[in-house]
């Protein structure tokens, strides 16, 4: 009965604060998301006179090396996506459907790769399997094992991105109505049969979603292929090398364009095609929890699998931790603090810059994310759908593409911002909003709209309602938005590598240069310091968000009780 009215515009004019907010958000989205993308298209497809000219595009498209790079990226993306989803599914199934021991431990381990700095897994790979590798050289005595190439990338990316698959699939598996599985059990089906005929088919949308999300991550990954791919070229890295090594801006931006296409398609498929196919049932009724199997024939193999995955993760992270404290890896394993001296002297300025810029962008991204979620879910205005799409788009746009778009867009009047802290903060803000928006949106749709209406009719203005009612209820979403923004800002490589300047060098880029000069232990020390900063920041954010007050349990509207 309550549909969209044709008086949207009148509505906006009646509420000047809303109008201003919508205009402000749109200005930001257009300037920092759409305009740089437009510049890439315009620059790649025109010549120096500004006319439409596809010759550069045709030249790139017809070259064999380009084709190989494009194919490499797709192959890597697909392989990683399938492997990570497979591991993620088994992990998620073990957590949601069985009573395996040490669940809390496994859940924690599975989130480590999400908040860890870049390069860390590649670095471990080199420490363990490189020329002086602990496993290859020391343990197995192999001298000519080549750690550089697609095989290492697949390993490293699978470990990096399986948590995304795990979290996506946990969401799917835990939200499937347990009554469906209970009904199958009640009808006499065995657990294996229930899995094959009920659970698995119902989780197909989640599996596809996970594959597409990991595919996007793998395609846009810059840091791992940049240091460990060897001769296996990928688009994100090639675009960077074409621009910085061969000074071929047009070739680089064309590559960015071709990198953008598959990720954009995957994103649109995931968001619009799969969204309509989900079997997840949200009734608002308190659902009973799923049957947790205690069958040892199921529990112990799954336990073994989870333990193995956790062991690999711990091995990789532990290796870097140890690597930070040894003199020369593979040759002299004696203890030293010297690498930390390096971090605190030469590496100090970039580190401070990273923290400062991350701190500056985090609250902006966090609050902007909540505001956009609020506007999109709660308000009616022309362009609401467009706002949602553009703001989530940054998730699908690879960092390399953002970086190239930003140099093209902001190197000239009227926006001469390249190399400034301002542009870096904007890059962080607009790139790191999506998680906040997504968790904000999914929280808001679960909160009865009349809670805000109650505040309004009691006399509160829109701003007061947002600050005193909506924001506290969004506390958890706000927190995840803040943490994600901070971590992503601290660990960003691909976008910022184009935007840094001698004044505003960043920690991740310093680590990258340490790799280039093979100073692996110094890189390890740097990474350890970054991990400590990130963990401390998460703790502090947690404290700060708790100061917002009790977020309360959302009372279910459909409850029926006696006094």
């Amino acid at each position: 009965m309550r549909g969209k009215t044709r008086f949207n515009l009148a509505h906006l004019v009646r509420d000047p604060v809303l109008l201003l907010l919508v205009l402000l958000v749109f200005t930001g989205l257009v300037l920092f998301i759409l305009y740089p993308l437009y510049k890439i298209f315009a620059y790649s497809l025109t010549n120096s006179q500004g006319r439409l000219d596809l010759s550069a595009a045709i030249q790139v498209l017809t070259s064999r090396s380009y084709f190989k790079t494009f194919g490499n990226s797709l192959l890597l993306g697909a392989t990683t996506a399938v492997l990570a989803t497979l591991i993620g599914y088994v992990f998620a199934y073990a957590m949601t459907r069985t009573a395996i021991p040490f669940k809390g431990f496994f859940k924690t381990i599975a989130t480590i790769p999400i908040i860890s700095p870049p390069f860390i897994l590649s670095l471990s790979m080199i420490f363990l399997f490189g020329r002086n590798g602990l496993i290859t050289r020391r343990l197995l005595g192999i001298e000519d094992f080549n750690v550089y190439g697609m095989h290492s990338l697949v390993v490293v990316q699978t470990i990096s991105f399986f948590p995304i698959a795990y979290l996506t699939l946990t969401g799917t598996l835990s939200k499937l109505n347990p009554a469906v599985e209970d009904a199958a059990l009640n009808l006499g089906a065995s657990r294996a049969r229930i899995f094959r005929t009920v659970t698995l088919p119902l989780s197909v949308p989640g599996i596809l979603s996970s594959i597409l999300l990991v595919f996007i991550q793998s395609m846009e990954d810059f840091s791992n292929p940049a240091v460990i791919s060897g001769n296996f070229s990928t688009l994100a890295v090639e675009a960077y090398r074409t621009i910085t090594g061969m000074y071929d801006m047009r070739g680089g931006s064309l590559m960015a364009l071709f990198l953008l296409m598959p990720t954009l398609i995957a994103f649109i498929l995931q968001k619009y095609w799969l969204a309509g196919k989900s079997f997840v049932t949200v009734t608002g009724k308190p659902t009973t929890s799923h049957q947790q199997s205690r069958d040892p024939r199921l529990v112990w193999p799954l336990f073994g699998f989870c333990a193995l995955v956790s062991f690999v993760i711990l091995l990789f992270y532990g290796t870097v931790l140890v690597g930070a404290f040894v003199k020369i890896w593979g040759i002299n394993f004696s203890f030293t603090w010297s690498h930390f001296n390096y971090v605190l002297t030469l590496g100090w300025r970039p580190l401070r810059n990273s923290v400062l810029l991350a701190l500056a962008s985090t609250p902006i991204a966090g609050i902007l994310g909540m505001i956009i979620a609020f506007l999109v879910v709660r308000k009616e205005f022309p362009g609401r759908r467009a706002m949602e799409f553009i703001s989530m788009l940054t998730f699908a746009v690879p960092g390399t593409v953002v970086g190239i778009g930003y140099i093209l867009a902001f190197n000239d009047r009227p926006f001469m911002w390249t190399g400034s802290a301002f542009l870096l903060i904007m890059a962080f803000t607009f790139r790191n909003m999506p998680v906040g928006i997504e968790s904000g949106t999914s929280t808001l749709v679960q909160i009865d709209r009349s809670i805000e209406e109650a505040s309004t009719i009691l006399g509160a203005t829109g701003a007061v309602t947002f600050r005193r009612i909506s924001l506290p209820m969004l506390k958890q979403a706000f927190f995840s938005g803040l943490v994600y923004s901070f971590v992503r800002a601290m660990t960003a490589v691909s976008a910022v590598i184009f935007l840094i300047s001698p004044r505003w060098n960043l920690a991740t880029i310093s680590i990258f240069s340490l790799f280039e000069s093979s100073k692996y232990s110094a890189a390890a020390a740097y990474i350890v310091v970054m991990i400590m900063i990130i963990l401390a920041a998460i703790g502090i954010l947690n404290l700060l968000v708790n100061l917002l007050g009790n977020s309360g349990t959302i009372p279910s509207g459909g409850r029926s009780e006696r006094i």
Binding site: E453, T456, L458, N550, S551, G552, T553, P555, G557, R562
Partner: protein
């Protein structure tokens, strides 16, 4: 504590030619949710809008609150056109179906919220909040959060929060529909007592007819965006002016009859397909047709039953029927009876006091002519 401090701002409400159109969801056209509605609510009166879902009752309420803008027409509160006034400045309160309590605030802070928003002095906020909590018997749980109290208590918090700001009009959007049957009856009586004591002008929206009967000064029956009938609960039940109203408000049987003529107010009718059964209806109602075919509204409690041998001709004044089904509820016995005219639902109170008719038995039905009404056959 004086109760009068919650009541001083009540005002009357007038809806004039109020219309609301929505774009239909498929974008093909417009849906008229509220169609040229005219209604006055006097100061201190409780008016209920009753109707099936989709009849426009909630939209009407939300337009008064300011959450929806009328497509055309006017809303006057205390004689003032509220069109330019945003919802937060209208001085109204609303009790929501879901209660809409603030989950992150204590019960005390929930109730105090509207006063805090007005930036009143702390002492006044404290005094008024405490007396509202006292009035709703919530004082012992003031420091708890909404999720920690029962559904009935949540309901009372919502009410306390609404009355503490001394609204000019109190709006209720199906406030009792989330409570179980017993508690619902208890709360609706409490709510009515409170509203009468405080004298707050109230508009109440529900689809539950017994709730509407129990609490209203007047009831508005709505269907498809239009008002069907307005009147006191007794008017609506005893003097329905359309088949829809008679059917929606309680249970009703409709017998096809022919009007033979009038003698003063009283109508003479012949029941169709009933062996020439003729009745004199002393109070046929305002919309009774003067001649030709008509519908006789007979509520289930307006009939009594007599034993009848299946071979025997019915006595004059009796309608012949056969019991198809008997449902025994304890306080009443409900019969579904097949007749040559229309199937009838008959309810007899205190069934143990007289004979129970078993399924399949033939009965004579005696209609209480004092209470039945006549309606036009077609509306």
């Amino acid at each position: 504590m004086s109760e009068s401090e919650f009541s001083s701002h009540s005002a009357d409400v007038a809806l004039i030619n109020l219309t609301k159109k929505f774009n239909s969801l498929d974008g093909s056209g417009e849906i008229t949710a509220v169609d040229n509605l005219n209604l006055e609510i006097k100061t201190g009166e409780l008016v209920t809008i009753l109707g099936p879902s989709g009849c426009g009752k909630t939209t009407t309420l939300r337009m008064i609150a300011g959450f929806e803008y009328p497509t055309s027409g006017k809303i006057l509160i205390g004689g003032r056109d509220v069109a330019p006034i945003p919802p937060n400045k209208r001085g109204l309160s609303m009790v929501f179906q879901s209660y809409a309590l603030f989950p992150h605030l204590t019960i005390y802070e929930n109730v105090a919220y509207g006063l805090r928003v007005q930036k009143l002095p702390e002492a006044e906020i404290g005094r008024r909040t405490r007396s509202a909590l006292e009035l709703m018997q919530l004082t012992p749980m003031a420091k708890r959060f909404p999720a920690q109290v029962s559904g009935g208590q949540q309901q009372r918090i919502a009410l306390a929060r609404a009355i503490v700001i001394e609204p000019s009009v109190l709006l209720f959007d199906e406030p009792l529909s989330n409570l179980d049957a017993k508690l619902r009856e208890y709360m609706r009586d409490e709510l009515r007592k409170l509203q009468k004591r405080l004298g707050i002008t109230s508009l109440y929206v529900t689809h539950d007819q017994s709730e509407a009967m129990a609490i209203s000064d007047r009831i508005v029956i709505m269907k498809d965006g239009k008002i069907c009938q307005v009147g006191t609960p007794r008017d609506i039940y005893a003097w329905p002016q359309s088949r829809f109203v008679a059917d929606f408000m309680g249970k009703a049987n409709f017998l096809e009859v022919r009007v033979l003529g009038f003698e003063g107010e009283a109508a003479f009718i012949e029941v169709e397909r009933a062996s020439g059964l003729r009745l004199r209806i002393p109070h046929p109602g305002a919309v009774a047709p003067r001649e030709g075919k008509a519908l006789l509204v007979v509520r289930p409690e307006m009939m009594s039953l007599e034993a009848l041998d299946s071979m025997q001709e019915p006595e004059a004044g009796l309608l012949r029927g056969r019991v198809e089904r008997l449902t025994y509820f304890g306080n009443i016995a409900r019969y579904e009876i097949a007749t040559d005219n229309a199937p009838l639902l008959v309810e007899r109170y205190n069934p143990e006091a007289s004979k129970l008719f078993s399924e399949g038995s033939s009965v004579g039905i005696l209609i209480d002519v004092e209470s039945v009404r006549l309606l036009p056959l077609l509306e």
